[in-house]
Amino acid sequence: MKILTTVKKVVDVELNIHVENGAILDKGLQYVINAWDENAVEAAVQLKESHKADTTLVSLGSGDNTDIIRKCYAMGIDNAIHIDDPALAKADSPTFARVLQKVYEAGDYDLVITGKQAQDTDAGQAGIMLAQFLNIPCVSNVIKIEVTDDSHIQVSRLGDAGTEILDVTLPAVITVSDGINEPRLPAMRGIMMAKKKKINVMDLAGLGTSFEDVGGTAPTSEIVEFMPTEKRKGGQKFEGEPAEVTAKVVDLLVNEAKVL
């Protein structure tokens, strides 16, 4: 089984992000692997261990992604491709999905595993669009994968009403939730071996396409502006006799907050 898994480098949203004039300031930003993609990598490595799957990682984006790719190598991924093209800095989800389509078509994969969304944009579209473009099955929000045979897997997904169990014919795309596994910490030996592995870095031309070919010049959506999240305002504290305080709070809920 050949597995393709996708990894996005995202801004660490746990740290303070500063916005000025509608743009995110570079200063102080730190980058990490998208957490859901780390679950995807772990799922791929588990299938490698249990079913001798061959695992390839693809990371899209402009700039140096070596650190996150090395970490995935240290976790156990076999091969890595980095599509490093400055044009991708302005790409929308369909464009990313088209690039992934090109990567998929060049590699003859049985299964694509992606995180269900990226923690920076929360769009959750690329994986699903990839399946649409390839016209292959897609299951989102997956929390369990079991291999049935060479051409079928059974997956569990979190649906609105509970867990849904689906038989899926390969090739297919699945997007995974964080409930699927606990990504491993790389072992020391893995880190040492990771530095020796090559990363196949190429731009869009190297992939045999162009920004125009993958729809990048005619985006379906565009980020116009970033706005900082409004800071939570402090609450009010009331002191006094319970009856008085209760009356005051009810009055405010009815007349000021207008929630009652």
């Binding site: 910490l185 790389p186 072992a187 020391m188 030996r189 990771a194």
Partner: protein, 380 residues
């Protein structure tokens, strides 16, 4: 010379820190109450190769370079110095001499179980009348037709209560001036563990006396050649000092981080105490000493990896890091005031843990001797 810019080293630091914060931090204060490490924690560390850090991969280790090794020990010790002590003693003076002086058969027999964490290493040099004076060893190895018979008592043995494979320094009954090193396993008849020491710091580490009473070991359990004990010991300690230096650095780093956070949060005279110049001076001094310590450790480690002499540099690193650990933890307690003297705050533990780094694996006085000997014998 900014070693930390190396991506591999950054990934090692980040990975170990994540493990230490998630798995060790919640247990560290509890572990300090008594000897021993939780089995669950030790089991989690095994597959991550913490017990075979610099062991070649074909013997089951991770084959780390020495700077990576120092980073691992620093990061574990930043959270639990007692566990950092266990790991560094096991890896450096426990395993390293077997890799360096052992025969292929000895390496294949003893190293894989140690690298897997199934057998914890210990290094037994210190006795009632031998420590800094390694020539004072009184444990005797009597040579017989079948091998050797060991008799003697070793004291203050780090990992003593949990050790599986032990390197024992003993003198020949025929020639008390020549010591040799023997590999003893804990199931050998005649070997026993004494009471766990009740120590000031590093309380999680089961430091104990080890007894050898007519302890019979096979002839092929002698490490290196008979009479090579001093050479093996000094070589092992050169390497061990990088680990202890890194351990002391980790303690200092932890105390420094706690101090910065506390100084920003603690209000006196209607302002955080970090606004006071005295506190700022303390913090600045701590930062400088810690940075200098880290550079010294990494320099010694880099020299070792290049195959160049590093004995004096390892001694400088160990001397400076252990002094830094003591002074920084002392200032950390001072910055915390009364709270720093309470077990409610981790700096109290760091303060107790720091002191012994100036004593074991060569006291600060011995480090100065090593450094001075190098200075005075170096060609001008």
């Amino acid at each position: 010379m900014d070693f930390n810019r190396c991506m591999k080293h950054q990934l090692i630091r980040k990975t170990v820190r994540e493990f230490a914060e998630n798995e060790i931090r919640p247990l560290a204060a509890e572990m300090d109450k008594g000897p021993g490490f939780p089995d669950d924690l030790m089991e989690k560390m095994k597959p991550l190769h913490y017990f075979g850090l610099q062991v070649p991969m074909h013997l089951g280790g991770a084959d780390l370079d020495s700077i990576s090794y120092a980073i691992v020990i620093e990061e574990i010790s930043r959270v639990s110095a007692a566990l950092g002590l266990c790991i560094t003693v096991h890896n450096s003076v426990g395993i390293y001499p077997i890799l360096r002086f052992g025969t292929r058969e000895q390496q294949q027999q003893f190293v894989p179980p140690m690298a897997a964490g199934e057998r914890i290493g210990a290094f037994c040099l210190t006795e009632a009348n031998a420590g800094s004076d390694a020539g004072g060893v009184e444990t005797v190895a009597q040579e017989t037709e079948q091998g050797f018979v060991l008799n003697g008592t070793k004291i203050f043995v780090t990992n003593g209560g949990i050790c599986g494979t032990i390197l024992v320094f003993a003198v020949s009954d025929m020639d008390p001036a020549r010591s040799s090193v023997f590999i003893v396993e804990n199931h050998t008849p005649g070997f026993s563990v004494g009471e766990i020491e009740d120590l000031c710091g590093m309380r999680a580490n089961p430091v104990a006396s080890l007894f050898f009473e007519d302890c019979r070991i096979a002839a092929d359990h002698c490490l290196g050649k008979p009479g090579q004990g001093l050479k093996i010991g000094l070589t092992a300690l050169d390497t061990g000092r990088i680990g202890v230096a890194a351990q002391a650095l980790g303690i200092a780093q932890a105390a420094f981080e706690e101090s910065v956070a506390y100084a920003k949060a603690r209000q006196q005279f209607n302002q955080p105490i970090s606004r006071f110049q005295t506190i700022q001076n303390y913090l600045a001094d701590m930062a400088v000493q810690i940075d200098a310590s880290r550079l010294l450790v990494h320099r010694a480690a880099a020299l070792k990896d290049k195959g160049q002499p590093f004995s004096a540099q390892a001694a400088m690193a160990k001397l400076h890091c252990s002094t830094t650990a003591r002074t920084v933890t002392n200032l950390a307690v001072q910055i915390h005031g009364g709270y720093g003297y309470s077990k409610e705050y981790d700096v109290e533990r760091y303060f107790r843990d720091a002191k012994v780094t100036e004593i074991y694996e060569g006291t600060s006085e011995i480090q100065r001797m090593v450094i001075a000997r190098d200075l005075l014998t170096r060609p001008v």
